[in-house]
Symmetry: C2
Subunit: 274 residues, 2 copies
Amino acid sequence: MSTSSHAEGLQGSPARMSPDATPVSARRRIPLRSTCAQPHVCPAPVRMQVLSRTPMFAGLVEEQLADIDRRMTSLSWAEGDALHVEGAPAEHLYLVAAGRAKAYRTAPNGQEVVVELLGPGDLFGGLRTLGQEAYAETVEALTTVCALRIGDDAFRQILGEHPEVGLRVLEDTTALLAQARTDVTRQSTATVAERLAAVLLRLAEKFGEPAREGGTLIELPLSRADLAGMTGSTPESVSRVMSRWRKDGVIDAGRRWTAVRDPRWLAEIAGAEA
Amino acid sequence: MSTSSHAEGLQGSPARMSPDATPVSARRRIPLRSTCAQPHVCPAPVRMQVLSRTPMFAGLVEEQLADIDRRMTSLSWAEGDALHVEGAPAEHLYLVAAGRAKAYRTAPNGQEVVVELLGPGDLFGGLRTLGQEAYAETVEALTTVCALRIGDDAFRQILGEHPEVGLRVLEDTTALLAQARTDVTRQSTATVAERLAAVLLRLAEKFGEPAREGGTLIELPLSRADLAGMTGSTPESVSRVMSRWRKDGVIDAGRRWTAVRDPRWLAEIAGAEA
DNA sequence: GCGGTTGATTGACGCCCGTCATGGTCCGAG
DNA sequence: CTCGGACCATGACGGGCGTCAATCAACCGC
């Protein structure tokens, strides 16, 4: 559910190097694929494909999509770059074309709390039209990212011409709200292990790819610190829990990568709801 | 911000009994006003007034509002009643006309986590049209509540006739999303005291009325357990913190009522953001 | 007024987990 | 190959806060 990730972007040649078997020594290889090879330009057909696969524009015909495409500008960022920062005036809506990004807030005490992970087809950003004065989150590229961007006026035009688009965005936002409230609930009542299990399940569902060694590889370069940010915890606590699970064969993980071996068992731990 | 509470419903005669001064002995009186005296019927002019003051329908003329009013049914509930329950098929949108309600989820461990407090003008519920299969929360009346209700078909009709209404709902939902994510962040990083301070400030802003004794009375019959549900904590912890603050003169509180005496100090504790 | 009930307060105890610190491993640069 | 830096693992310690329990004040119905 939530902003799905069908439009799986164009993936470059697998930069994957790990062998088939997974002895303890091979754990450290990074099995993440590099995505969106071309740095600063998304060719027109790719852009069209992204638009056509985005739930937000479902039901529009090619001509209409081309019209919308003309009003969007395509941009790209390198890993570690910020697409926009918390507190800056909200002037654009973004649509991810390829790559991964994380949206996080910085708490008063300085900790980063990750509120959403973004992939192809996901919508983020903000606009005055939607009642947002400033971006509430910082969005940072986890891999090379390509995204389409649209401004306030153009978005308002599109809404005028295609009212159903607004409804789709509303659906989307409603789903995000439901998920955020699920997070609040879990944060308030569950232990670190339970929260981590739920997070990993959600990631596996949204970003998972079947791995050769069996299980589901989460196609995201997440550090322990990132996972800590998503569970409202610390890198140390995350590390401890994951070590235990690795010994039990529930998951597999290394430097900035994670795979789920036994989803059932994780679901058991999570206690319900994803 | 968020779904504001301008439409202050009709308040019946004050059921307030506390004396002017507030010696320690008088703390226990319930200074809450009973709202919406008439049980099962909201007279037409009142309904129109509610609609006209709701942000969602801002900009519509009287005639249009009357048209919308005709498609909504008015209902009322007694304190403790559930307006709808978590998991039931989402078939209605509700608009609070008078009274207070809380929306909460029940965590796997049985704890109730309050995700929103509702007053006149607030929108809640869910519809298939908005992508909701089932209600995600249970909404329970804290006082006698009157609300207007609308079904899927009628809502879709209204959206068709007045596209701008959809945009307003979207604004509203966006604001709720931002707030929910603020909650997630706070839940992950702040202490119980900090969270409670933030919650009280938010309540004072939305439901506060200047009290005779000075300070701001929060017009909600909230128990320690309710506050615990809003802070992701326990009644005991909430009680401890509030006792301390009462000794320091920061707040005043009794059985199911709370007043803020020194908002500045609370804001200091909360550390930022409401 | 008077008991029963509900809600609030306060104390004691213990565990989860955040914090600090150390050492190991992997990776890229030169 | 070697060095340095980033990331991860693991141990020890302590505090915040959840849990259990007893007491008490306030409210309601009679």
